[in-house]
């Protein structure tokens, strides 16, 4: 009797304690609930934004679909949690989401002090400036004394201060937490300049009353490797998510697409493709999944190139740094073997 009461108390205590107290709890929770909880942007075309049917599109949202497919086998089993720049890390730290896939810059501080760790680079970006054409500015060095709209709590905010300091120029920031309010302030003329990652500028420019009134300056003032991140401590989940990222890049390199993946698995004589798609070796089992995992993922969302083409090219951005390393870009996955 007393024993049973103790068990009940212990169970109650275990339920009250956040699920993280156990080993590998994130992966267990995803498997048992059959859903991956994914922190995304509140709405940034090309990265994560809900479409007319309420389904999330964009490369960051699609990465979550890929991880969900790898673990629970279905790209629809994702619960999207929209976050802004100010609450994104807290949402991850507190366990409200399993993964944060929200055009977030990979830096040493974030990798070391947040209790989170980046998986890799999903999109190479750089910070740029957008100005109304009518102010007649053509390069960043002409911006001395400008009023700049910037999102708070971003690397952008720090780079901006660094850039103006290093050039001995001055500026006035206008800092509003919600992107929609901030772009409204910029379009209304409260600021001379809007600054964020160049991809974000391209996406924001599409929402302008008249996009041809605005110009994205050619200067990139920083390196912004954007990538997804997960909490520290659940290394099985970390490894699966990280190799899903690499798997999608590797698939593009070897020409495996959502169209031909089954055929490639059955027919390809390339040992690298065979290993990647589980026709030989035990890569999937080593990750704690089955050997078909990457086949499933590629069938559901396509390889990195397909994801990029579907989401980023409509913004008018070329592959640039995000091309495969063989094509002069930086996308380079470690070998899957």
């Amino acid at each position: 009797m007393i024993g049973r009461t103790l068990v009940r108390i212990a169970t109650a205590a275990a339920l009250l304690t956040p699920a993280l107290a156990l080993a590998g709890p994130t992966l267990d929770a995803i498997k048992s609930k059959g859903v991956l909880r994914c922190g995304v942007h509140t709405g940034l075309a090309g990265f994560s934004a809900p479409d007319a049917k309420g389904d999330w599109t964009g490369i960051d949202a699609e990465f979550c679909k890929a991880v969900a497919t790898a673990i629970v086998g279905d790209p629809k089993k994702v619960e999207y949690v929209p976050t802004n720049t100010q609450n994104r890390f807290t949402v991850l730290q507190s366990g409200e989401v399993d993964i944060l896939s929200r055009n977030t810059t990979w830096t040493a501080t974030r990798d070391s002090t947040l209790g989170a760790v980046f998986l890799g680079t999903w999109f190479y970006d750089g910070q740029g400036f957008m100005v109304p054409k009518k102010i007649g500015v053509t390069k960043a060095s002409e911006l001395d004394g400008a009023t700049v709209c910037v999102l708070p709590g971003t690397t952008t905010e720090l780079n901006l201060a660094d850039y103006f300091r290093s050039k001995g120029m001055s500026f006035k920031p206008v800092v509003v937490a919600e992107l929609a309010q901030l772009t409204q302030a910029f379009f209304s003329g409260r600021c001379d300049v809007f600054t964020t990652d160049i991809s974000g500028l391209a996406s924001t420019r599409l929402t302008a009353p008249n996009k041809d009134d605005y110009l994205i300056l050619p200067d990139a003032i920083s390196k912004e490797p954007l990538g997804p991140l997960v909490r520290r401590g659940d290394w099985e989940f970390f490894t699966i998510a990280k190799w899903t990222l690499f798997g999608l890049i590797e698939a593009e390199e070897y020409g495996v697409t959502s169209e031909n993946v089954e055929k490639m698995k059955a027919e390809s004589k390339d040992p690298a493709v065979q290993r990647m798609l589980g026709a030989s070796g035990d890569i999937g089992k080593g990750l704690g999944l089955d050997n078909d995992w990457l086949v499933r993922v590629i069938k559901a969302v396509g390889n990195y190139g397909e994801i990029y083409k579907r989401n980023i090219e409509p913004l008018g951005l070329e592959r640039g740094l995000n091309a495969q390393w063989r094509d002069g870009g930086l996308m380079y996955a470690p070998p899957i073997r």
Binding site: T17, T85, F89, A146, P173, V175, S188, G189, R190
Partner: protein, 395 residues
């Protein structure tokens, strides 16, 4: 037999519990234990989870370089300063807008409160309409409206509304010509302080004389001479500088002059017009609480209407007004944290940014809570002191 019964009484533990005093102590101890236990559980759980997730804790980040710019601050701040200094800059902005807001809301609220009691039908209805309109629209919405007015409706900086070459008003805010820095202004400032002190001294002396002899000294003219004339004299004696720092259009914006940003203006006006509606009601209730007979008695003693208000009605109304007024001041100060929605860099805005740059969420929230608690307690202490002074002394 009797002896045995008393033995039973002392030995029975239930008897001890039926003692009211003992029972009270036991319950209080149990409650204390429960509170301490829950507190400990929360603390321990947080510590455990922070350690588990390898999140760094501690306040040492306050000494690190902040690296982000703050649009405006009452203290000198640059991105090369520390997070600690950034927090101070945020606190200075919160205090500044709260203090000005309290003064503006009190003046406006008092006027409207008195207006509601006016015998003029139009004035009374207008004041009543203001109160109902302002206090029934959420403050956040009002802030968005003010901010929208100041950034969308005003002209761009190059077509700024000009008031001679002394002031310009555009989307970028208000630029006002301001005296060039000169030692004379400091001297005048000190003279103003001295004038205020002397005026207070004059009032004390006049009171003492009236107590002793029943005769009054004039109050208004000497006080004005001391508080206005003395600073003017000091300014004139130390060189009478009249150079103004005029705003001039240069590059992207005006340079020079005093800047009032649209964010600050929207927040200040939003906070004070909103709180004024509540203060008006407090003032109206206070004045109505004073019995009419008091005013009639004062009149029959031969006091002028101004004296009647100052010496009879107001002192009795204040004891009703001051306590709820404290709550309104506290509300205004706390509502200033809505600044974050329209981009005024108050304490919450700075704390949010710091939290995000460093990941030190718990520490930043602790600082936020401590600062707001301290400001609120200070306002309470001051208002309680003032309340004790104006409270009715019954004889």
């Amino acid at each position: 037999m009797a002896r045995r019964r008393s033995d039973v009484r002392t030995a029975d533990p239930l008897r001890v519990l039926s003692n009211e005093r003992t029972r009270g102590i036991v319950w209080q101890l149990l409650l204390l234990a429960a509170v301490v236990g829950v507190g400990w559980y929360l603390f321990d759980n947080t510590q455990h989870n922070l350690a588990q997730r390898q999140i760094r804790v501690g306040f040492d980040f306050l000494g690190r370089e902040a690296g982000f710019e703050i649009a405006e601050a009452r203290i000198a701040y640059s991105p090369a300063d520390t997070y600690g200094r950034a927090f101070l800059a945020g606190i200075s902005n919160t205090l500044w807008v709260s203090a000005l807001g309290i003064v503006a809301a009190t003046l406006l609220g008092t006027l409207i409160g008195i207006g509601r009691l006016s015998t003029n039908w139009l004035v009374a209805r207008l004041a009543g309409g203001y109160v109902e309109f302002m206090r029934n629209i959420p403050l956040l919405l009002q802030l968005f409206i003010w901010y929208g007015l100041f950034t969308e409706l005003l002209p761009p900086v190059r077509q700024a509304l000009a008031f001679g070459d002394l002031a310009f008003w555009s989307q970028r805010g208000l630029r006002i010509a301001w005296p060039q820095p000169h030692p004379a202004w400091q001297v005048a400032g000190w003279a103003l302080l001295a004038g205020i002190a002397l005026a207070i001294g004059w009032r004390h002396a006049a009171r003492a004389r009236q107590q002793r002899t029943g005769r009054q000294w004039p109050m208004f003219v000497p006080a004005m001479v001391l508080m206005v004339g003395l600073p003017l004299l000091a300014w004139w004696l130390s060189g009478a500088p009249t150079d103004l720092d005029r705003p001039v259009l240069k590059g992207f914006n005006f340079a020079g002059g005093l800047v009032v940003t649209p964010e600050f203006l929207a927040l200040l006006i939003g906070l004070s017009t909103y709180t004024a509606a509540f203060i008006a009601e407090v003032v109206r209730a206070g004045i109505q609480s004073v019995d009419r007979g008091q005013g009639e008695a004062a009149m029959s003693l031969g006091l002028s209407p101004a004296q009647q208000l100052r010496l009879v009605t107001l002192p009795q109304a204040l004891r009703v007004i001051v306590p709820p007024m404290t709550s309104q001041y506290l509300n205004l100060t706390k509502n200033s944290s809505l600044a974050v929605a329209i981009g005024y860099p108050d304490l919450v805005s700075v704390a949010n940014t710091s939290m995000n740059q460093t990941g030190q969420a718990i520490e930043a929230i602790v600082i936020l809570m401590a600062v707001y608690l301290a400001i609120s307690l200070l306002i309470s202490v001051f208002m309680n002191w003032y309340n004790a002074r104006v409270r009715l002394v019954e004889r």
